[in-house]
Symmetry: C2
Subunit: 218 residues, 2 copies
DNA sequence: GACAGTTTCAAACAGTTGTTATAAATATTA
DNA sequence: TAATATTTATAACAACTGTTTGAAACTGTC
């Protein structure tokens, strides 16, 4: 029996990562099946175990790949001048977050995979939190602390308030991403970068108002 | 012939609903297994099919039960005076949302189940959206529209801005619920109503500042 | 007691899951 | 070319999935 290898073959390993990203993002670790992934990747079921050991190995590989590429493509500061104000850094942070979550292809998986981990943790969340979430949190924390300090006449802001503001900003971004990935119509239509920037700027406006209100304390 | 049907709150049926709520909330529809639910409810596996037809029937029953009880216990206005200002209604809406999501027992499942549906839709989302999400959305929409109208000297606010504000408020609430359900320490410790109110009021403060900033348009 | 309706339980069903053993196909090197 | 290592394909494995079966155990009424 002559096996037919597709001409567009650019390596089973790469195709598996791509397919697994799609399927894991859609169903989460538990509900995703190796067979669906392999069918999606035009590969045999045994390919997963050969290249990645087991299902969890593939999952980790996908996470590492997405995380690395997403931050590489859309870093938190989007190459902003390091002398930029806290306000400007916040605006850009929100834009980068939305670009990662609403863009086409693998960057969108990144946020969706994290969402799946939040919904039904698979046990690797600790590792993910360290490499993907922690650095982002610390970056945003610094930005917001600086912002609040300026608003509050250089007085060191309350830790709880900083955390609350950080959560609120992230919450808004994540909700936007989820709601737009969920809507059946939006699923087919990818948002243009300009549209994403527009949404990001509105969230920025809202957040600045919110942070100022928290800083004012009433 | 009068069939002797046990009260809804008694017997295996009730225990199954309780157990299924817990397991579905933790793992989602696909990844949850009937056997885990039945073990949790001290029931035989066939009990599910006897009482609810199939897995999906149980899932729907859980959703209906949670939804009804959660809104019953914490309605959107928490019994507020119907003459209350939009600002006060918003404050109370946020508090009721957090109480539903962070309280003990079944109210907490409610939001978690919706989150699971968002993460990996099981096909019944249309039904859920109609009965659980749509009414909440419309209530909040009215509140925010009224708020914006007052801020903007009775001028009818832009539809997109109303929607954005609504999403941002919901996003903040949902994120708070998720993050607190995720943290391993918080899982054991249930928040006191007073603590929940405190968090809700901070989100309210933040949101009011945000909405005002959006209304001001800069 | 006997009887009929309702509910439980253990066992088994067919289908799917992750994983693996083995052989075939391909790539690499001498 | 031949020999070797790497990669892919097939089929099977045991464990688990939702569901069904049929017999037992209840329930209340006569």
């Amino acid at each position: 029996m002559k096996a037919i290898r597709p001409a567009w073959d650019e390596g089973t390993k790469k195709r598996l990562i791509d397919a697994a990203g799609k399927v894991f993002a859609r169903h989460g670790f538990r509900a995703a099946t190796i067979r669906e992934i392999c069918k999606c990747a035009n590969a045999a079921v045994s390919a997963v175990n050969y290249h990645f050991g087991d299902k969890k190995g593939l999952y980790l590989a996908v996470f590492e790949y997405c995380n690395r590429r997403a931050i590489e493509k859309y870093p938190h500061d989007l190459g902003l001048d390091s002398e930029a104000t806290a306000e400007e850094r916040l605006r850009v942070f929100i834009r980068s977050f939305l670009l990662r979550g609403l863009g086409d292809g693998f960057p969108a998986w990144h946020e969706k995979l994290i969402a799946q981990e939040v919904a039904d943790p698979s046990g690797i969340f600790g590792k993910v939190a360290e490499t993907a979430i922690r650095p982002m949190d610390e970056y945003l924390e610094k930005v917001i602390r600086e912002f609040l300090r300026k608003e509050n006449s250089a007085q060191e802001p309350d830790v709880c308030l900083v955390e609350l503001c950080r959560m609120n900003v992230i919450g808004q971004c994540i909700f936007q991403i989820h709601i737009r990935q969920l809507m059946p119509l939006a699923a087919t239509k990818i948002l243009e970068p300009a549209q994403i920037t527009a949404i990001a700027d509105l969230i920025f406006q809202f957040s600045v108002g919110g942070i100022r209100a928290i800083a004012a304390g009433r």
